[in-house]
């Protein structure tokens, strides 16, 4: 395996140290005349990013994304590991499906793919899927989620939380009270009333989070809350943590940056679930991410083919791309305003998601002997996002035409470059 000497990078945005990448691990303070030198002057070195929430669409919707193209987009965004959500077709609710997704990730070689197992058979919310079989499979599933659907039944949620304790799993809940959000199209508020789009009220998220925090405390299990989108949710999670309960939470880049005002265009590229909320919500989410109430930035990368977005709002699919722009959005919303340091970013986008997902090879500090999962990032440039430049199969980025800071220059996964000079290696 060839080795690389990364010269001049600021480790976590701090001191400059040269890093040797050799035999899949990081080596500090050792020269290597044979190594290929990468001039990283002015770049920031971060541990390879870990996404807890990615939709790779394979199997079933290979027209929108495949494991290969999705992990390529992830690598372009600085990710070395992604958790692939279970809402594929067939649903990832058996050991067979999760092993297939896991294997496709290994064959592609752009990211380590950790399949998320469905909580219930077919995401139908009636019967627990074989969680233990998925945990024991080659994919070693630890994160379980019906994402896209809420585990609405309180008894089923309790049982899932209890059951995953046997293998140190975590239930990642898509918090959406189903009855309160029937046919919901956008954030419920003044604007939804004016636009005549059925509202998705904040209380529908908060009511489920409150219930699930109480359930997790009651049965002594681990709860992870997906894509927190409201100020009230942040406050509930803050209280749960203050009570010492084992609750973690994620926020998406788009909920940090974008607001429901964009729906006034009726352009479905802004249609997402949970919906874009208000400025007050984005501020609360940023504050929650800054103070650690929200543990993780997760992309909820949700590719859709053009025809599923090039239509009227109500007919369009929910979801937006996120992998390639995540770090830029975090710089824009968190680092540049002084809410997070780059070391904090390493925590929120690498250490913490790896810890929650029980992933041992990723999310490790950049130390001698650590696995060589590394991203080199240039925070000094600004770029206008072009949808056509995405390496995803889909084009539904809400940031098209928007200027964002920063650029991923290189990504290394287990010592091998997946991205070099800002291009797929």
């Amino acid at each position: 395996m060839s080795s690389f000497l990364v010269k001049g990078a600021r480790i976590l945005g701090g001191d400059t140290r040269d890093v040797l990448i050799r035999d899949g691990v990081l080596v500090f303070g050792e020269p290597d005349a044979d190594a290929e030198v990468i001039d990283a002057t002015g770049l920031i070195a971060l541990p390879g990013l870990v996404d807890l929430h990615t939709h790779l669409r394979e199997p079933g919707r290979e027209d929108a994304e495949t494991v290969l193209t999705g992990t390529q987009a992830a690598a372009m965004g600085g990710f070395t590991a992604v958790h692939a959500m279970a809402n594929t077709d067939p649903v990832a609710d058996t050991a067979g499906v999760v092993e297939q997704v896991w294997r496709l990730g290994r064959e592609g070689g752009y990211c380590d793919v950790y399949p998320v197992g469905a909580v219930t058979v077919g995401l139908a919310g009636r019967q627990l899927a074989e969680l233990g079989a998925m945990a024991d499979s080659a994919a070693r599933v630890r994160v379980f989620s019906d994402d896209g659907h809420c585990v609405g039944d309180a008894v089923l949620m309790r049982r899932a939380l209890e059951y995953v304790k046997a293998f140190d799993g975590v239930v990642a809940q898509h918090a959406q009270e189903p009855r309160l959000t029937e046919n919901a199209q956008m954030n419920e508020g003044e604007l939804s009333g004016r636009l005549g789009l059925a509202g998705w009220p904040a209380v529908a998220e908060e009511a489920v989070i409150a219930r699930d925090c109480l359930l997790a405390a009651h049965v002594g299990s681990r709860l992870h809350v997906c894509h927190v989108s409201t100020a009230g949710s942040v406050e509930l999670i803050r209280q749960a943590k203050a009570s010492g309960w084992n609750v973690t939470a994620e926020v998406t880049p788009h909920h940090l940056l974008l607001t429901d005002e964009l729906a006034a265009s009726y352009d479905p590229v802004y249609k997402v679930n949970p919906p874009l909320r208000t400025t007050a919500d984005t501020e609360a989410l940023r504050a929650g991410l800054a103070d650690g109430t929200i543990d993780v930035v997760a992309t909820d990368h949700a590719p859709h083919p053009l025809e599923d977005k090039d239509c009227e709002w109500a007919a369009a699919a929910f979801g937006m791309l996120g992998l390639e722009t995540a770090l830029s959005v975090v710089q824009e919303t968190m680092v540049d305003p002084g809410l997070l340091s780059w070391a904090d970013v390493a925590d929120r986008m690498s250490y913490a998601p790896a810890r929650i997902g029980r992933v041992s090879d990723h999310g490790r500090p950049l130390e001698d002997g650590a696995p060589a999962n590394l991203v080199l990032y240039d925070p000094s440039v600004r770029r206008v996002v072009e949808a056509a430049e995405s390496v995803s199969l889909s084009r539904n980025t809400p940031y098209a035409g928007m200027e964002l800071p920063g650029r991923v220059v290189a990504t290394f996964r287990h010592g091998k470059p997946t991205v070099l000079d800002g291009k797929l290696a």
């Binding site: 004016r194 009726y266 090039d310 709002w313 007919a315």
Partner: protein, 322 residues
Amino acid sequence: MKKHLLSAGDLSREDAELVLHTAEELRSLADRPIKKLPALRGRTVVNLFFEDSTRTRISFEAAAKRLSADVINFSAKGSSLSKGESLKDTALTLEAMGCDAVVIRHGASGAPHRLANSGWVRASVVNAGDGTHEHPTQALLDAFTMWRHLGPRNGGTLDGQRIAIVGDVLHSRVARSNALLLHTLGAEVTLVAPPTLLPVGVDSWPVETSYDLDGVLPKADAVMMLRVQRERMNGGFFPTAREYSRRYGLDGRRMATLQEHTIVMHPGPMVRGMEITADVADSDRSVIVEQVTNGVAVRMAVLYLLLGGSEPAVGNPDGADA
């Protein structure tokens, strides 16, 4: 006027009054033996209806034909929502055939915005009702009807006139467009409904709201009753149809509390016995049938003005000038 009519909020007071004055001229046409003008000869108007609405469609059809436009009726029931042809492909088809105005009725809020702003067609787009969003020509014909009845005793305007709009505001595109337009025209609108049928955020609209119909009626200059669809009962918005009628229906007893000049309106189709009783609907105060007549005149005015009519519509030198 702008190129499209998507929302009643697109109309300035000047625009709205121009439509009313133009409609007034065009309305006189209905009394002539030959009800036709050459104003839009050679222009093509497409009625693109993704939802059944015979009343609105024939109203637009009559309006376009009386202006000598060629009319194509395109009933596209089964939109992309039901996996039929997509809105985009339908639009591209119309564009390829060549048309000057598209009158669109669609079940999805915002569909006319997509049609107008996605580059699929170059024609003017007229929103003939989209989902639970807006129905601006209905608001214009309602305002026109009020203006004809209330204007003469109010200096020729609707300034300060009190308009009560009663019923299922939450799901009503008519209420949204009326609230915007009547505010633009200076009227004072009160939306009356049970709390479950008022939209979230209605407090930021330029209107008053009330849960108490009996308190509002004696002060109103016009009362507009909205249709309440029986399927709303399945959503639990109110307990029973009978209770709804008792609290929010307009019957003879309530009609007796109105001022002498107050008119009663309904955009149709009515559910007699639900939101309005037969004796009220058929009373002298009711202008419901006149609303239909006025609908044709207002839609003629809208098509005429959007398609660039620069001469007075009926050759009256004091009349409209677009």
